[in-house]
Symmetry: C2
Subunit: 383 residues, 2 copies
């Protein structure tokens, strides 16, 4: 909880929501008759609506990307390190929009929402969502906000995948695509970890085949395990070692079965907190979305061909210690962009924090990111 809002904060922000009273055709063939997107904005839209930045969120976050909802809020939005006055995504210069992805559990229509056909929560009947659907729904939001063309679409991890999909699906609607700590598709190991997380949720007796809402329970044990596991893949071996080493939890016996390492109680705590906040069906849905993301699939498994339609200029950033989406995966994207002769900046950042590095205040990272966004802001100012 901030005693005073820091000067470089986006400040107190109020979540917004818009309900679209029109249907949305999804990639899977299903149709959402109506849908709501919750979102937040930071900064001011300029007169010709040319300074708008769309921020796309990762697997388990939401539309609260920066600032505080109230003076009582314990922590600011998830990307407060990068969004705010004077930060890389400078809210003095940009109008920033971040929406909760469709299928989410923070205000946007998702499995816990009421299915208009039944009057009950969708549960497991919520349709499959593809990254293309997120991009499509975000384009609808852009229309509503009268943003014809984003100065940049920006995201880390699964957010970076959305930024890439935007460049493919709406080549004329963004000037820049910023793809951070992402991959052109998941590796076999990535899918394997996701499947263990899904099985943890699905095998929880409180899951009730996805209809736990009507039983008044949540698959807390499964979600907790899913998060504990996910958390290990977000951190590097190095950062875990630095943070916890083999230190024992306070009060732990020095040996034996009850002996407890700090890292164990830390993970359990993370898992328990997450399980209290996040919807299990959303977790299943979003990991499946992530597994299935593969823009090259429709182009003979050739990412270069997939990106052939793109016109945006790109910033791609990867982190040396990221074993979830390591630099080699970003280089696949870079190679495909180069082969299309697209304007491109690429930075590989030395960092110790693993995949989570994209959320951290790493000076080199922030400098590279800021330098690029300054260029974007200067173009906006000159336009």
């Amino acid at each position: 909880m901030p005693e005073v809002i820091p000067e470089d904060s986006a400040g107190l922000v109020t979540p917004l929501a818009i309900t679209f009273q029109e249907s949305l055709a999804l990639e899977c063939g299903a149709v959402l008759k109506e849908y709501t997107l919750s979102y937040e904005t930071y900064g001011e839209l300029n007169a010709n609506a040319s300074n708008a930045i769309l921020v796309c969120h990762a697997l388990s976050s939401n539309h609260h990307a920066a600032g505080y909802h109230s003076m009582d809020e314990r922590k600011p939005g998830w990307w407060d390190s990068c969004i705010g006055p004077g930060k890389p995504i400078d809210t003095n210069r940009f109008f920033v929009v971040c929406s909760n992805n469709l299928g989410g559990c923070h205000g946007s229509t998702g499995p816990a929402s009421t299915n208009p056909d039944t009057g009950m929560p969708y549960g497991k009947d919520f349709p499959d969502i593809a990254v293309k659907d997120w991009v499509h729904s975000q384009a609808k939001l852009s229309d509503t906000l009268n943003i014809k063309r984003w100065a940049a679409v920006v995201g880390g991890s699964l957010g970076g995948m959305q930024a890439m999909q935007w460049a493919i699906d709406y080549p004329d609607r963004l000037a820049h695509s910023v793809v951070i700590a992402a991959a052109p598709r998941l590796s076999t190991q990535n899918i394997a970890f996701n499947e263990v997380a899904r099985q943890a949720i699905k095998s929880d007796p409180d899951f009730h085949d996805g209809n736990y809402y009507e039983h008044g329970v949540i698959p807390e044990r499964g979600l907790r395990l899913a998060r504990m596991l996910g958390h290990i893949t977000y951190l590097s071996e190095d950062s875990m070692h630095t943070k916890f080493g083999r230190e024992l939890q306070e009060g732990s016996p020095r040996s034996g079965y009850e002996m407890e390492f700090q890292v164990e109680s830390y993970l359990r705590h993370q898992g328990t907190r997450f399980a209290a906040e996040f919807d299990a069906n959303t977790y299943l849905l979003m990991t499946k979305t992530l597994d299935h993301f593969d823009p090259a699939r429709d182009y003979g498994h050739d990412l270069t061909r997939a990106l052939n339609r793109a016109k945006a200029r790109f910033l791609v950033i990867s982190f040396a210690g990221d074993w979830r989406f390591p630099p080699e995966r970003s280089r696949e994207i870079v190679r495909a962009l180069l082969e299309n002769n697209l304007d491109l900046s690429y930075a590989e950042i030395t960092a110790n924090e693993g995949h989570d590095a994209f959320l951290m205040k790493n000076p080199h990272y922030l400098d590279v990111f800021r330098a690029y966004m300054d260029r974007v802001a200067n173009e906006v100012a000159a336009s």
Copy 2:
């Protein structure tokens, strides 16, 4: 199932067991009043009992290291690639012993065994077991078999840790210590993965606080998750990619929520098979044993000092693609051995199979291993 037993197989083997009608004092302070060790032997003990090799098993295996129990057995013992006539541990030259670790679930006394004090299964009351206890009980077995000194104590992974502990605790009772794909202690990340596996088991409603035996159930869901997760850490990213890539399961839809990658059903299958065979309390116990293993702890966290008592000659082997216990961890052992001026061979094998490489028929690995064991056999012959 073999139609004929291959010529280089240890052949048909019969599991043995010995019950010690004497107490065993454990590291944790508890005492086992009596205990059974199940074991197998391959080859013939020579007249002066100088050709005996002790093979130590890893987390989830057992005393069935080589050969077949019957012509109907689907697969040979877990280290059949390395034990048999003409193989690195050549049963024409050596007498090989492998016992199920104390606390196990394949015949040796463990949590599912009857507690003589209560007439009920030990369950969660089974005492903590340390690697030192395994070594101690194996020494008792050696006495019974009239083996005063092992030509070599050999093991991979947690088995390699036992081989190292043998050299520390019984410096005069082994000539060689062969430490394969091991580490001097677990990393924070190793512990973290183990804790997720334990939580999966403990949070299964069928776990009943470890006393599931009396409820006539097993925590099948938890064990299944634990194994799926473990399995990912045994394979390399590369080998998973080569084996499964992003190939879809036969009959899977090409997109959507029901779409299924081969790696997903493979992992589920592995998990289900394991859960039917392995005891959950043993899994909890052995992962804790592994987490707590740290021979340097009692020597001011100095591995060199811990190994100062060792007299054995060492072969240390690591595998490039092993991200569970990568070569850097073996090098820590090598460094400590060098600082003690101990006789040492070290090989870092280029392999694609991850941690499981130590079970595979990698030609370079087998050649290095065979060359070293030939030296051991020649010493035995000359003695």
